[in-house]
């Protein structure tokens, strides 16, 4: 087992600087993921990080584990293969709102339904950043994007509710302003033996903020601070006061059988049966 004594060892420092724009929130999320891995004491040799395609998914290139930068939308499918083939590995999926909620949406709900022990961290910057600012399923109604030049006509997913309804056993949401909460949610996701989903709301000042006149990065962080309400606090608040707010915190934590464990039990049962046959 390779224990991590220094969080810097979790990065491929020779691959830095990263490709993200000034003010991008992705670095904060990567840092939170690394801190959660570090504080959870995961064995670096037994931890695999998988990503899809997009700004967020470039994170795996900077992280010093067995890392897999896959095709657009399909990270969860590769991760499913890794986890099922080797259940002893810790598998973390880093994905974006386009990668996970649009092209990869079907894989998200089916992995959640199986309750396979994956930890999916969705970087939500409300836009397709890598391709230059097209709207995603997480771009709020009315917002401007290069492909919604007159305002976005579509509605967004509540992706946390979607993951919960599909069968995820752990669901959380935080933002790049609420970093300590984000670290804690990811740690609990790692601890949960089952499908865990954490939405990390990020900021994209360049491809989203500028077009929508949301100000620079600090201004966008301030917006997150002012509009996020912890789910526990929200329970004591008047609905009127929750208008224009969004919830953060632990959204769901339940118990359900984990898929790879069920499969291993099946193998054990069949092989025990085979021994009996011989006798």
């Amino acid at each position: 087992m390779q224990t991590t004594t220094n969080i810097e060892n979790l990065f491929r420092l020779n691959r830095l600087p990263h490709i993200w724009c000034p003010g991008c929130g992705n670095g904060i999320i990567v840092n939170a993921v690394q801190k959660a891995i570090y504080e959870s004491g995961l064995d670096k040799d037994k931890t695999v990080i998988v990503s899809g395609i997009g700004c967020s998914s470039r994170a795996t290139g900077y992280m010093n584990f067995d890392t897999l930068h896959t095709t657009h939308g399909r990270a969860i499918t590769f991760a499913t293969g890794i986890k099922l083939a080797r259940p002893e590995l810790n598998v973390i999926v880093l994905t974006g709102d386009g990668d996970c909620a649009a092209i990869g949406g079907n894989h998200l709900i089916h992995a959640a339904r199986r309750n396979i022990d994956l930890n999916v961290i969705m970087f939500n910057n409300s836009i397709y950043g890598m391709t230059g600012g097209q709207f995603s399923p997480m771009t709020p109604h009315g917002r401007l994007a290069t492909t919604s030049p007159y305002g976005n006509l579509e509605r967004t997913f509540d992706i946390c509710k979607l993951a919960e309804c599909a069968g995820a056993s752990y669901v959380g949401r935080s933002t790049v302003y609420h970093v300590q909460l984000l670290v804690n949610l990811i740690k609990k996701a790692i601890e949960n033996k089952g499908f865990s989903f954490v939405e990390a709301i990020s900021i994209c000042p360049i491809s989203y903020g500028r077009r929508n006149k949301l100000g620079d990065a600090p201004k966008m962080l301030e917006w997150l601070k002012e509009h996020a309400v912890n789910i526990k606090a929200a329970q004591k608040m008047e609905p009127e006061k929750l208008k224009d707010k969004f919830l953060i915190g632990e959204m769901y934590h339940g118990e359900a059988p984990e898929y790879t464990q069920l499969y291993d039990e099946l193998i054990a049962k069949l092989q025990k049966g085979a021994e009996k046959d011989v006798r």
Binding site: L68, T71, T77, G81, I82, L84, A85
Partner: protein, 380 residues
Amino acid sequence: MKTKRNAQLLQGNQACSLGALDAGVRFYAGYPITPSTEIAEFMAEELPKVGGKFIQMEDEIAGIGAVVGAALTGTKALTATSGPGFSLMQEIIGFATMTEVPCVIVNVQRMGPSTGGPTSPAQADIMQARWGTHGDHPVIALSPGSVLEAYTLTIKAVNFSEKYRVPVIFLLDEVIGHLREKVVLPELNELEIIDRKRPTVSPEQYKPYAVDESGIPAMADFGQGYHWHVTGLNHDETGGPTGKADVINQQLSRLFHKLDQYRDEITLYQTFDVEDAEYLLISFGCSTRSSLAAVELLRNEGIKVGLLQLQTIWPFPDHVIKDFTKNKKGVFVVEMNDGQLCLEVERTIGNRDLLSRINKINGELITPQEIIDKVKEVAL
């Protein structure tokens, strides 16, 4: 323990599944599609008994994704599908090619395009197997002509994927997939089973895409402490993405040509009655069987015909085609499509006048009589 294998009645899809198990495949992920489903059903039942894993995914894209993920952990992995599913898998087949992850994709060919004839045979995915994914790339595709070959060539497919680190396309067709024949499988201890080359250096020294004279990099299993990066982006020998033109050129040149030095051992074929043949049939898969019957009947009438059965479709065996078509009065390419393999034969022999096509696209097998008629048209 029983070691001697008895004669048994086996279906092509079952034989393919058995071959996969005997080659060491311990992971299957796929999505149900006719006429390939018997492979998934067999794997669902048998894999857990030997400690392997089967998973039915939400679509074929997820199937091939999970297969590549499992393969990265050092597990031999396979998926099976048919035309529509094979189309869906193409992007990730390209990913496996680019990242050099061994895996086998069985395509039990049915009529296309589109939904076509789900239960009707065709051999029309020859070019899709070669060029289905975007960009230049190496590929291996094998096609069996009998139930026994469905077993032996599946083992070859798994071995090739492991040795050369390429996805291997296994082109079954509906006829061979659903055909039941009496077979005697080779003894397990007679089988050659190949495992991928693992690194012999420490993780600190490991360069995932550095090669020796074999041209094939050593591959570390995920979870063994090598901490390597796998990406579909252009990458250098460390596996990290690169935009440097000279490095990209060097890596892609190696990738595109890594099979070249192994062409002889990858090229598998059989010949029937070619020694004194004046006319040559070239065929593969299910059409081999009609061709063989035609050869026998034509010879009874004194027409000297031979048959070349290609078991390796890709890389296309140019040298074999050149050798066996030399000094022939006529060459006939027999295939259940609108003429795909014949394009390669034409390119190879460079003489259109010598070449005749025998095709059928209505979902019915090419009959020996149809072949006989065509040969006689040319020969008499």
